[in-house]
């Protein structure tokens, strides 16, 4: 069991960090250029030279592009109608149609943003040629703080570390109590003078240590393999993790005191975990959720820990910056642990 506990999470970290990314590196694009002029070819040339696009089809009939979208062999199509250049020269609006496969909504939004950016750049070029002195009324420059390259891994790996620690904390501790119920060993233990809190502590401490070890290994992989910056104090991460673990283990133990079989316990743990993970802000920003969901996140320990660990690792936050969520976690932890000690029954 021990090798499994250590190997699986590392493999998971490696796979997820490389595979799960929001960047879309090759958008399959179908082009229908019915104008076929210098101006239109200049626009399509922008797409051709972009590393993000992969031109999968070119046709004078836009039905071919639509067909490819239906088949799934293209993600996006752009259509330029005859008269595109003429309109530009006359100073009239020229139309470009962009159609995107939105089966995956977040991918579609991203592809659309890339494409609009290219058309926007093209617009500016045209404008500069037509009236060189005009320029744009508002000029934008921007920079991304704490993750200048918007590197996806920098953002994702700390979150995945949190998940690993969570899964170990919640599942191993919880399953262990239910397993004793299934095997019947709990019947023997319950007739001994062992106290409830001693029993719960015995279930807690080993997995608490294992999970912290796991976090250490995870951080090492993050640093060595992914070169994720760890700006803040690494001991602070462990302090937060050890408090956080008490919360998830408490939840796991509480579930296990309510259930009688590993199957029941597994089902409820998964149910809780999936909701917590999806709402945690790991994959989608918590800020974009409706207000009631954000309120619900007040009881989501994963959301607290992900935001804290990102703050410490990427921003270098110190203890005073994370004091409030840390105190909330500590209060949360003692509440669920007391609850599970209270709920654990030495009678059947």
């Amino acid at each position: 069991m021990l090798p499994i506990i250590f190997i699986i999470p590392i493999v998971q970290l490696l796979i997820l960090s490389y595979a799960v990314t929001f960047e879309i590196k090759s958008i399959k694009l179908s082009i229908t250029d019915n104008d076929n002029t210098v101006a239109s070819r200049r626009l399509t040339g922008h797409f051709r030279s972009s590393p993000f696009y992969n031109i999968v089809g070119e046709s004078s009939d836009q039905r071919d592009g639509a067909e490819m979208l239906h088949k799934g062999s293209a993600h996006q199509m752009i259509v330029l109608l005859p008269g595109f250049e003429k309109a530009l020269v006359k100073g009239q609006p020229a139309h470009v149609q962009v159609v995107t496969d939105a089966i995956n909504g977040s991918a579609a939004a991203l592809m659309n943003a890339y494409t609009l950016q290219i058309i926007y750049d093209y617009n500016r070029e045209i404008l500069a040629e037509v009236s060189p002195l005009a320029g744009l009324p508002v000029k934008l420059t921007w920079s991304y703080w704490f993750n200048p390259q918007l590197d996806y891994k920098t953002y994702m790996v700390p979150g995945i570390l949190v998940l690993l620690v969570t899964i170990i904390g919640m599942f191993l501790s919880g399953m262990n109590v239910v397993r004793e119920k299934e095997l019947g060993t709990i019947e023997q233990i319950n007739v001994t003078p062992i106290r409830k809190h001693q029993f719960i502590a015995g279930k807690l401490i080993p997995f608490w240590i294992i999970a912290l070890f796991e976090l250490a290994i995870g951080l090492l992989v993050a640093r060595l393999v992914f070169s994720i910056p760890i700006l803040g104090n690494i001991f602070l991460i462990f302090l937060v993790a050890s408090v956080y673990l008490l919360v998830v283990m408490g939840i796991g133990l509480f579930i296990s005191t309510l259930t009688n079989t590993q199957q029941q316990s597994m089902f409820i743990s998964w149910f809780v975990l999936v909701i917590f993970i999806l709402m945690s802000g790991l994959f989608t920003p918590a800020e974009s959720m409706p207000q009631w969901a954000q309120n619900l996140n007040m009881i989501n320990p994963i959301a607290y820990f992900i935001s804290i660990i990102r703050m410490i690792m990427l921003k270098g936050s110190g203890i005073q910056d994370i004091m409030i969520p840390l105190l909330i976690l500590a209060g949360y932890g003692s509440a669920v642990l007391s609850l599970s000690v209270w709920r654990y029954r030495k009678t059947i």
Binding site: L183, G184, T185, E187, P193, I194, I348
Partner: protein, 308 residues
């Protein structure tokens, strides 16, 4: 009253609509082996779980060594030795580790109480480094008994300790119990095997959550109200259905290849039964007078319960 070790009165336990115990009363004297004899589902395990503080009774009172099973549960757990029906030690700990673990929980000194388990533990000591899950059935049971004894309990409660154990190990096990009794430990044991009842000082016959009879095995056997005959035959089933049709027969039951039959009145004796059999062509079979065993009594009580 001081010589009573375990005492129960009017114990009731229901699981939903199933009545597991329907008001059981009994008392066990100090230093005796008391057997609860009955088939599966008689309520033996439920009763033991109440006595070991694992279950709360719906009604009734019980105490062990003067300690109430509900109010004084914490103290009770220090003086009880319990061996559940299912092997309940940690399978992934070794024999030695299990023993040390349970000694540790009870804060017991292994070397001080070793004399209690010496004869039992010596037999499994060669496998001290083996995981408990890898032991054979008989050895698991010896380990479980060792672990239940290591804190020198005043009362030992064994739930079907010999179920699923081979005949030789069963006999050995009972020899161990009798030795433990001589150390002054009160022993409550449940078993579905009628032949083990003889080995107890006193027994209670249980069926459907009630005690049908209790007393020493001799008392119970001598209270058998009918004359009993035994017939040996190799055509058991045929003979059985034939005898059940005869007038004046109270009951006829199969015991291995023998048939035990009890007669309902004084007029029906060995001669009458023998003649009846000969009339139907069973010339080799001779009924003979037999002494009732616990099983005869059990079946008789069972029938009484069903009709009454």
């Amino acid at each position: 009253m001081t010589d009573i070790s375990v005492y129960g009165e009017g114990l009731v336990k229901n699981y939903g609509k199933t009545e597991a115990l329907r008001g059981i009363s009994f008392s066990v004297n100090k230093g005796e082996i008391f057997g609860f004899i009955g088939p599966d589902g008689a309520g033996k395990t439920t009763l033991f779980r109440i006595l070991t503080t694992l279950l709360l009774p719906d009604a009734g009172d019980a105490s062990v060594e003067g300690f109430h099973v509900v109010k004084d549960f914490r103290h009770l757990r220090t003086i009880l030795g319990y061996m559940p029906g299912r092997f309940s030690l940690y399978q992934d700990l070794t024999v030695e580790e299990n023993l040390k673990f349970f000694a540790g929980i009870f804060k017991a000194d292994i070397s001080k109480n070793y004399h209690l388990i010496k004869e039992i533990y010596d037999q499994i000591a060669p496998f001290a480094k083996r995981r408990a899950g890898k032991l054979s059935g008989g050895m698991k049971q010896k380990l479980a008994l060792s672990c239940a004894l290591i804190h020198k309990p005043e009362v030992l409660i064994l739930d079907e300790p010999t179920t699923g154990v081979d005949a030789v190990s069963r006999r050995e096990f009972w020899e161990m119990l009798i030795r433990l009794k001589s150390q002054g430990i009160t022993i409550l044991v449940s078993t579905p095997y009628m032949d083990e009842a003889i080995l107890c000082d006193r027994v209670a016959l249980m069926q459907h959550g009630s005690i049908m009879a209790s007393g020493t095995p001799d008392e119970i056997m001598s209270s058998y109200p009918h004359r009993l005959f035994k017939i040996s035959t190799d055509r058991t089933l045929e003979l059985l259905s034939l005898i059940r049709k005869m007038n004046g027969i109270h009951s006829a039951e199969m015991f291995g290849s023998d048939i035990h039959l009890s007669v309902a009145d004084a007029e029906t004796g060995i001669e009458e039964v023998g003649e009846y059999l000969r009339n139907y062509g069973f010339t080799a079979e001779k009924p003979e007078e037999a002494k009732p065993g616990i099983e005869d009594c059990f079946i008789d009580f069972m029938k009484l319960n069903q009709t009454g």
